[in-house]
Structures are given as structure tokens and as C-alpha cells.
Symmetry: C2
């Protein structure tokens, strides 16, 4: 391990866009390497240029294939594209299924595309943290567009979606009934709707359902100029992908001309600050509470103490110790 | 509001299993009513009798219908059943779609069934907290079986699943490809697998895929006696639901005879303690940080401070104040 390049020594190569450096820096950040923060501070200074796009949809919506096709289309415009695919891996296995990578084989060998899968490894907030660090690295390394692919359910993922400029929500025809789709809680956050698998006969039904839903919600949209579009795409033949890309580009232009981009950047900075602080606080707490919880757990188990009452005891001990 | 019954005055009626009291107590708990904790402490003393069963599956798997049918089947055995349906509601609307209730109309009027939908309302950890409080209330009120229905993705939901005795994972044929299903991260936590919509022609494919997956994972299961079954069910005609119920009952017997139930109870108590403490800590932090974050946010936005560096400054201020 002694011979490895330190994070800070890699910064220059990251900023020059060298792929090995980008990959190595992401690994350092994921493994919470000790010397990493100094490098990430420096990298962070060079961010703010990329267009960050979230691609969200329930399992089975076909968003991985869509992301792969979108990458190819972005490459045709000579722009560099980075992808971070977020797998909500099981807390029990700690592993992630690299399905996305399998589908992205066509892109291998193109130095203008960088693809990374990330997993949670059971740390609350950890997924959002490593994902957004990954976005910083790609942004600073000169990737013009950074796509974040997520399943779109859960707090970690909400944190991620709140840190993008443009959110694309992918739906698919026949994915259970409408109520179930709405339950996934991602429809309302879309800047752009995509209905994948548009070659299927029931695609039109899904498209009109989404359009009706948008009509119903139109009142709350009147404040912004942006009309949320519903775009059909077909991953089999690539239909609709170019239109999707130009719509994504238009959305950024709209954010800039309306002044909303500045507000989104401010919101993102605020969210990242609070989440980072929460994470550090939780880590400190976990470290200090170790060893004090067995007695309290037994009192909860016997019914003598409600979990909340026990928690208050634990916390007051923690705060006394932090003095 | 003056004439309303206070939480503590309701405890006796809750313990007697009166439905109005159970419903009211849940509303108090959800609204974080001030006087609630005393009542919840008392209620908590009377818990530990119910069999707590998590029913988990991705959107579109048909688990809501399955839960409704399972309720009917449980009622045939004269046991009382409570259901808490967890909707991962959007942080943007704050609302929840009560689809589950619509499907459960048949059960209305049966005082042996209690059904409640819960939503996150954007508070991290809030969903798990109100859900588990709801389980306590139902347990103390004499409901023999408590079903928790969740989408099964995300931290809040993992917290919930870690607090049940038996986890049923519902899959459905044709729900995207295998990789996507595994990505949902719920397959590995199952004590019992159910393949719904078994009338569909592709159901057998899903059943054999699940069985192969279980064979692959068999090494890690050898420590326990329980062989994870894969059960086909059909919500249209109710096929397989009685077998599912007897398998759920068998699983509890198995937990008891193997001694694993005590361990699960200990784990649940420990998890609840830590989560409760984390939630209180986060609330304190949010309260104290209000007003200090604007300046730090601007420094993040300008690139002068990395979010993590700013978070450390914010935190040291917080801990100084807590002294």
C-alpha cells in the first residue's frame, strides 16, 4: 500500500480529466480514505460546470438501458459524459449487482464516458455522500454531463435527487397499476417524464395517464416557465433518445434564463451541508454509545423502558461526554 | 381541542382493544402529540404478544391485494389482525395515496381488523418511528397478528423490516428482468417468498428463479433450521393464501423452538433504541443549527468550503452550545 499515489497527489490528474485518476479518486472517496478530504476540498473548488441529471425510475422501468443509450447520444455531440449508477444494495449482503455495467459494454473503450456503480454498504447517508462526491470528481474532471441513475425510493435517494439540476423520471407501461406507480413517490419530482418501452401496445395508456396527472398538478407548476414534457422512448431501436437529450439540454437553458439555476445551486449547497453535518454527528454518536447500550436494551426488552425513554438516557450521556 | 381525551386517559381503552381508542392513539403518535410519550410508555409495557409480520415487495407486485386476502384468512381463524401500510410518500407533496384502503373495502365493518396507512412526511426516521409505535399500539390492544406492508426499498423501510419477526417478500412474474428484481434489495431478507399472480403463464419461471437463487444462498442458511419456502398465490381466486398463513404460523413456531425469537427481540430492542436516539439527536441539531447555515451555505456555493469542512464548523458550534 506504501507505493500507492496519495489522494492529494492525484488531484492534478483528476483536473486534467485522466480516467485512471478519476477512478482512483472515487475509490479513495468510497473507502473513506484518511487523506482524502484535502484532495476533495481542492477538487470541490473546480466544480460547478457540469450539468447534473438524475435518471430515476422503479425497478423494471428500463432506465439502465436508457442511460446507456443516452450516453451514446451525448457522445455524438462530442461532450464527455459520466454516469454514477446507484444500487440500493441489501444491508445483509453488502454487495451490489453490476447489471448496469453489463448493459453498458458497448461504451467500453470510449474515454469520453466514465461509468461507476455505487452501493450503500448499510451506512445511512453514505450512499448520498459517496454519490455526490463522485459527481464532484466527474464535474471537476471536465465531464460535461453527469448522469445519476437511481431507483428513486428512500431517503438516500431523495437526498441524491435533491442535488441534481434536472430530474428525468422513467416509467414503463404495464408496471402494476397506477396507484402503485404513484406510491413509488418519484413522479412528482420529474422535470422530464420518459415512458420507456414505447414499442409496447400499452405505452400510449401510460403516456396519457402521465399527461392527465400533469394536468391535475398544473396549478402548482404555474410559477415556473417549464412545461413538464412526457417523452416516449424505445431502447430497442433508440427512438426518442435524441429528443430526450435535446429536452434535457433545453431544461438547463430554461433554468439559466429563469434564474432558477442559482436557487437550485443554493439549495444543493444547503442540503449537502446539513447532510454532511448529520452524518458526522451520527458517527460520533455511534462511536461513543458503543458499550452503553446493552444495559438499556435489556431494560427495553423487559418493558421497563420505552425505546424513546432509553434513547433520552443514552443521549444525555453522549452530550455530557462531548463537553 | 380542550374537550379531547388526553393520550394517557385513552390507555385503558387501548388495552381493552377498543377500536376508536386505537385509532385515536395512533393519530396522537403520528402528530407527535406532547402528552403522548407517557401513554406510549404505558402501552409499551403491554407489548410482546403479537406476531409481527412484514410484507414487502416492489411496486406492482400485488402485495396490497395479498395483504387484504391474508387478513380475511386470518379472521377465519378467529384471530384479530392489524395492518400498517407504509407509503413512501413524496417529500414534495407530503401526501399519501390511500390505494391500500380502497382495496380493503371488503374488510370494513369487521372489528377484528384494523387498517392504517402511514406516510413519511419527509422526516428521516419518522416513518419507522410512527410505524413501530403503531405496531406497539396494535400489539398492546390485543391484535394477534400485525402485518406491516412496505415497498421494501430505502433506509426507513430497512429499519422497519429489522423490527419484525417474519418477513414475507412478494414477487410478481414479468416485473422487469432478474437483475432489476435483485436490485430492489429485498429478496435476501425473506423468511418466506411469495410469487403473486400465479395465474399468469410466466409465474413458474419466477418461482424457479427464486428457488435457484435460494439454492445458491443455501450455505448461509445452514445455521438455521428454517427452509425458506417459495409459495405461489393468486389474489384473483385466493389460491395459496391459506398455505401462506400456515407457513407464517410455522415460521413463528420455528423461531420459538429454535430460540431465535429471543435473539430477534433483543435485536429489535437494540435497533429501536439506537434509531430513537439518532432521531432525537438530529432534531436537536436541526433546531440549534437554524440561522447559522446561511453563511456556511454561501461559502460552499462559492467553492471556498467543501460541504464536509463546513459541516465540521457547524457541528463544533452545536456541541459547544449543548454544553
Amino acid at each position: 500500500m506504501k507505493d500507492q499515489i496519495t489522494p492529494i497527489a492525484l488531484v492534478k490528474a483528476v483536473l486534467a480529466g485522466e480516467i485512471f485518476a478519476v477512478a482512483r479518486m472515487m475509490s479513495y472517496a468510497e473507502s473513506l480514505n484518511e487523506g482524502c478530504q484535502e484532495a476533495l476540498n481542492e477538487i470541490y473548488r473546480h466544480t460547478g460546470k457540469a450539468h447534473i441529471v438524475g435518471i430515476t425510475g422503479v425497478p423494471g422501468s428500463g432506465k439502465s438501458t436508457l442511460v446507456a443509450q443516452l450516453c451514446k447520444t451525448i457522445r455524438k455531440t462530442k461532450r464527455k459524459v459520466g454516469v454514477i449508477a446507484v444500487d440500493p444494495s441489501s444491508p445483509f449482503s453488502g454487495g451490489s449487482i453490476l447489471g448496469d455495467r453489463i448493459r453498458m459494454n458497448d461504451l467500453v473503450g470510449d474515454s469520453g464516458v466514465f461509468i461507476r456503480s455505487m452501493a450503500t454498504r448499510g451506512t445511512l447517508g453514505g450512499l448520498a455522500r459517496t454519490t455526490l462526491t463522485g459527481v464532484d470528481i466527474l464535474d471537476a474532471a471536465g465531464y460535461d454531463v453527469v448522469l445519476i441513475e437511481t431507483v428513486g425510493v428512500g431517503q438516500d435517494e431523495i437526498d441524491i435527487v435533491q442535488a441534481v439540476h434536472t430530474t428525468v423520471v422513467v416509467s414503463a407501461p404495464g408496471l402494476g397499476d397506477d396507484i402503485q406507480a404513484i406510491k413509488a413517490g418519484v413522479l412528482e419530482i420529474a422535470d422530464i417524464h420518459v415512458v420507456g418501452k414505447s414499442d409496447r401496445s400499452d405505452a400510449n395508456k401510460t403516456i396519457s395517464e402521465l399527461k392527465s396527472m400533469l394536468m391535475l398538478g398544473a396549478q402548482s407548476q404555474q410559477e415556473t416557465e417549464w412545461q413538464i414534457p412526457v417523452l416516449p422512448t424505445c431502447s430497442l431501436n433508440g427512438q426518442g433518445i435524441e429528443e430526450l437529450l435535446s429536452t434535457i439540454d433545453n431544461h438547463l437553458e430554461n433554468l439559466k434564463s429563469s434564474g432558477e439555476l442559482s436557487q437550485r445551486r443554493l439549495d444543493i449547497a444547503r442540503t449537502r451541508l446539513l447532510k454532511a453535518a448529520e452524518n458526522i454527528l451520527r458517527e460520533k454518536f455511534e462511536y461513543h454509545s458503543e458499550g452503553k447500550i446493552n444495559d438499556l436494551t435489556n431494560q427495553i426488552l423487559s418493558g421497563d423502558l420505552h425505546p424513546n425513554a432509553a434513547a433520552k438516557i443514552l443521549l444525555s450521556q453522549f452530550l455530557r461526554e462531548m463537553e
